[in-house]
């Protein structure tokens, strides 16, 4: 009997290729005779293109062609209108692509793009979000299909009658995904076949979208995403780069690479929309919530409606008889927002968990105990039982490990010279998502096994954990498993998104391998030359309705030092404890948790994008100005988990771990800043200008 490897800290299978630089990404494929294409972004925030003068660009050496809305191939209308590039003269926001220069080198394409002269009929633009914007409306749904509004009981009256009340507003700025690898695609035709290498979180959808837009059969198209340098949601569905690459290769008949420069990303790959929050919490003097209202106002573009579902975690977290959760959205002349790691939960839990901390202060109650006191029996919004709910265990375990009991709850009670020290806590939650998927498991005559599924390894360790699942199901050592992922030529599978990948892909991998093991047991004689193969498909199973409310939970603790000279906040330590079902690889899981917490640290302290009201674009467009945390910002971060045995999930028992690390982290840091200083700052990020102004205003 082989020792189980699921749960073990197996090393990343592609780690050597990545650290030695031999792993090839979408823009790096050696291809003789390929062309490079560079988009031209619109230089007005709203209006129409009235003319594109391409003569100077075409006169440059190396420039092959320039595509504009006047000569680009007509495409079938996509479901996602952000992909309808070069199909018309309208400019819905600054940075929208208005031309594509195709050249025989990257440098020539860049020079060509600079030589394209675009004239516009500009119109007045409005990019400024406010909660009182006259165009704000309540949509039917928020992202994820959640109802925009949910109401239980009479939250207004209950709030008015509450013994203790908190009525506060929070602001989260626009945020950018900025994966390490910018979006890139290389496309080429081989006869009637189209092959596309693209940096995507899931190629199944890329292929379907390309087939629809270009009038092709899916069988004519192969889409490959062998290695992907992160996505954080911005590569969840195709982005304009892949459409442009296919357009250009169709137009020229030659392979074409479109590699977006970092500076283009904020305008065309989605961003986390800014959210304005109003939180009203009412409680009795024992700290039991009687009323909860979370109202969110956010923006979307004029291209399509995307509504950050930031009020949804309030439907899951706490027992409260009267509640109202509302999303409102304002269409503006801004780039189209989209998914960014934990859309909804990340900004929503910042606001909710900050307000809970404010309520704890009003009550004079420990914030850990306040959360435990409001632990619900069933999911507050639906009344469904939880498949498992480990929030209290996470809070208690985190408090124990962090040394919470020794904390002096009084704000501004610890100092080291000019530094004020404080600690804070916040809860985390993320829903359990899973989608149908397929996989194939082959037994080969040499004693090895080949597992195939079109999973995408976006840096998470998907190959590695799927091999672990296969090894255990087949009861063979890990070394005998080979894994192929990242191509539409493999059995169809959903994207790496919504923290669902491992559950979705692992399910059919587990099933195929289990059935293959059974077949081998019964198989007379050795494995035949052509091998044995078993296919599995979880359609109808993975997507079957569950009578249970299924969510992961967690607790974040943070200690900060606030410099009263400069207003600089530095995190000294952070600790996360998660209840996320079964952890399938302790090494890559820890990496995901720590990565999420680091991104949450950035959301709290350093990351923020500024919509330029005058010009209508995001001011911070590179990694020098958009401040993701540097190593020096990231202290000792610990991630732990409480084991959960939840039989209501999937055969592997995992809940998904890719996003929960960023949920609530910013609130824990913000609550720690309040504990350190006694000053409550309600707009992220907590940069020195804001913190110093807050300290000065409070006379501190």
């Amino acid at each position: 009997m082989t020792a189980r490897v699921v749960g073990a800290p197996a090393e990343r299978r592609e780690g050597r290729e990545k650290v030695t630089g031999t792993a090839r990404y979408a823009a790096e494929l050696p291809s003789l005779g390929r062309l490079f294409a560079r988009p031209v972004p619109a230089a007005v925030a709203r209006g129409r293109v009235t003319g594109v003068d391409v003569s100077d660009a075409l006169a440059l050496p190396g420039v092959v062609t320039v595509l504009t809305h006047e000569n680009a191939p007509r495409l079938a209308e996509p479901d996602d209108p952000t992909l309808a590039v070069l199909q018309g003269p309208e400019v819905p926001h600054r940075g929208w692509f208005v031309a594509l220069v195709v050249a025989d080198s990257l440098e020539a394409a860049r020079a060509g793009a600079a030589a394209v002269h675009v004239s516009y009929a500009a119109e007045p633009h409005d990019v400024t979000l406010s909660a009182t914007h006259p165009d704000a409306y309540v949509p039917e749904e928020a992202n994820g299909g959640y109802p925009a509004v949910r109401e239980h009981g009479d939250p207004e009256d209950a709030f008015a009658d509450a013994a203790v009340r908190v009525d506060v507003g929070y602001r989260v700025p626009p945020l950018h995904n900025h994966p390490m690898e910018p979006h890139a695609s290389t496309a080429h035709w081989d006869g009637e076949r189209l092959t596309v290498h693209t940096s995507s979180q899931g190629t199944t959808v890329v292929r379907a979208v390309l087939a629809g837009m270009f009038g092709l059969e899916e069988e004519q198209i192969s889409v490959v995403a062998e290695h992907v340098g992160g996505g954080f949601g911005s590569k969840g569905t195709p982005r304009p780069d892949v459409v442009l690459a296919v357009m250009a290769t169709r137009h020229t008949g030659r392979p074409v690479t479109v590699a977006l420069p970092r500076r283009f990303l904020p305008a065309v790959v989605g961003h986390r929309a800014p959210t304005l929050h109003r939180l009203r919490l009412g409680a009795d003097t024992d700290g039991r919530l009687t009323s909860l209202a979370h109202e969110v106002t956010t923006h979307t573009s004029r291209v399509k409606e995307f509504v950050e579902q930031a009020a949804t975690p309030a439907r899951v977290m706490y027992a409260v008889p009267h509640s109202r959760t509302v999303h409102r959205v304002v269409p503006l002349d801004v780039p189209t927002p989209s998914w960014m790691r934990a859309p909804g939960e990340a900004p929503g839990m910042y606001a909710l968990e900050s307000a809970v901390d404010e309520l704890a202060e009003e009550l004079g109650m420990d914030p850990v105990e306040l959360r435990i006191r409001n632990e619900p029996e069933t999911e507050p919004d639906t009344g469904r039982p939880f498949s498992s709910r480990g929030l209290v265990a996470c809070l208690r375990e985190g408090a124990r490990r962090f040394g919470w009991a020794e904390r002096d709850p009084r704000p501004r009670s610890r100092a080291e010279g000019p530094l004020l020290l404080g600690t804070g806590v916040a809860a985390a939650t993320y829903p359990v998502l899973v989608w149908p998927s397929t996989a194939a498991a082959h037994a080969l005559p040499d004693g090895t096994f080949l597992v195939e599924t079109n999973a995408t390894d976006i840096g998470t360790g998907a190959r590695t954990v799927l091999a672990q699942i296969a090894a255990d199901a087949l009861a063979v050592p890990l070394e005998r498993i080979r894994i192929r992922v990242g191509s539409t030529d493999l059995p169809s599978a959903p994207l790496a998104g919504g923290s669902s990948g491992t559950a979705s892909w692992g399910w059919p991998v587990h099933e195929a391998c289990t059935r293959l093991a059974d077949r081998l047991t019964d198989f007379p004689g050795p494995v035949p030359e052509q091998g044995l193969v078993v296919h599995a498909d979880t359609s109808g199973t993975a997507d079957a309705d569950s009578p249970y409310a299924r969510h992961a939970f967690g607790a974040h603790f943070a200690e900060v030092a606030v410099d009263t000279v400069t207003g600089e906040v530095r995190v000294r330590r952070m600790l996360g404890v998660y209840a996320a079902g079964r952890i399938l690889n302790s090494r890559t899981a820890r990496s995901q948790f720590v990565g999420g917490m680091t991104m949450g640290l950035g959301m709290a302290l350093t990351e923020g994008s500024t919509m330029d009201a005058a010009f209508g674009d995001f001011t911070e467009s590179d990694l020098a100005s958009y401040h993701v945390p540097a190593h020096a910002d990231v202290p000792d971060i610990e991630a732990h988990w409480v084991e959960e045995d939840d039989p209501h999930l999937n055969p592997l028992g995992g809940k998904g771990i890719g996003e929960i690390g960023i949920v609530g982290t910013a609130a824990a840091v913000g609550n720690a800043v309040h504990h350190a200083t006694g000053v409550r700052l309600r707009e992220l990020p907590l940069t020195p200008d804001r913190v110093l102004a807050g300290l000065l205003e409070a006379g501190r």
């Binding site: 972004p41 190396g62 000019p418 000279v565 302290l605 330029d612 020096a632 020195p688 200008d689 110093l692």
Partner: protein, 331 residues
């Protein structure tokens, strides 16, 4: 692509000749800023004259006790130089507060002085910028300017100079050595960068063709207590929101020498002459420091979104002055 000539200069004379024969040329040092700007289309030189092979990569102690820093000494090497660390700690600290380790390894002393503003409107050729394109307007004025100037700006330009090193050099009374066809001249570091006035396109007093060959750190400030402090949005790899370099000599209960320069407040390192004059001869008390710093900063005219810079710069200056006035304590 936009082609340009590349010339590797073997001597100063060759460099100057190459510059003269290529109108629109730029000298190339570490390239950490210039090459970025070329990619952005902000800089479009006709020729790059690579000066990195010139023999300007040494720190030399001169007989009078001053230090001569070659223009090609890398920022990392200068920060780590024992004489610099011992005698001019503010300079070492300023260098280490700048950029990232990788950038400091590539960036040169001369290039650090000559780096351009990081104003986002300067870097975006689709927007107006009087510095990049004189007469086109200033995008930052009505746009996003949290990081911009509060002192000495003009209607034409509100950009700040991004260097940390230059702020320390200004406070330390360093001089910049320039080589041109007319010979060698020296300029005080505090006067090396200009205020924008009517000509924001001119960052410095360097004349066309002149090459920064070195920096002289004077013996007069060698060994005096000095320090640099910077506030920034993240702990590393971020430009200053405000910074200060201070050189302070106290003897017999009286300030004998004060050199104070602010960073990130103006188009150049802002030498705080008013504050210095107020301090010299005074007792180094908290009240005297506050009076002096407030006097200097009373000239500040914050813009819509950068009023925080004034109290921030004040706090930084008072903190560093106070620490330097109490030798023996942790700096």
């Amino acid at each position: 692509m936009k082609s340009f000539a590349y010339v590797r200069a073997g001597s100063l004379a060759e460099a100057a000749d190459a510059y003269a024969s290529h109108p629109g040329a730029r000298y190339l040092g570490g390239g950490t800023n210039l090459v970025d700007l070329m990619k952005l289309g902000v800089e479009q030189p006709t020729a790059l004259i690579d000066v990195t092979r010139l023999p300007l990569d040494e720190v030399t102690e001169l007989p009078d006790g001053s230090l001569r820093v070659g223009a090609l000494v890398r920022n990392s090497d200068l920060a780590a130089h024992p004489r610099v660390r011992d005698r001019y700690p503010a300079l070492s600290q300023a260098l280490l507060a700048g950029a990232s380790g990788q950038l400091r390894n590539a960036a040169t002393t001369g290039g650090n002085l000559l780096q351009r503003t990081r104003c986002p409107y300067f870097q975006d050729v689709s927007k107006p910028c009087n510095k990049r394109e004189p007469g086109s307007g200033c995008g930052a004025r009505e746009g996003v300017h949290r990081d911009h100037a509060v002192l000495g700006y003009s209607e034409r330009c509100i950009a700040t100079h991004p260097s940390d090193m230059a702020v320390a050099l200004a406070a330390l009374d360093a001089q910049v050595e320039l080589y041109g066809l007319a010979g060698v001249r020296r300029v005080h570091a505090a006067d090396f960068h200009r205020l924008p006035g009517e000509h924001p396109e001119r960052d410095t007093v360097v004349e066309p063709g002149e090459l920064v060959t070195g920096v002289l750190l004077p013996s007069a400030t060698a060994g005096l207590p000095s320090a640099y402090r910077k506030a920034r949005d993240r702990a590393s790899y971020a430009f200053a929101l405000a910074s200060v370099a201070v050189v302070l000599e106290v003897a017999d209960g009286v300030v004998r020498h004060a050199g104070i320069a602010f960073g990130a407040l103006a188009h150049r390192p802002w030498r705080a002459r008013l504050a210095e004059e107020a301090l010299v001869g005074a007792a180094p008390t908290a009240a005297a420091f506050e009076r002096a710093v407030d006097l200097e900063l009373s000239a500040a005219r914050p813009l819509r979104d950068n009023a925080y810079k004034v109290p921030l710069a004040r706090n930084l200056a008072l903190d560093v002055l106070t620490r330097l006035a109490r030798p023996g304590e942790d700096s």
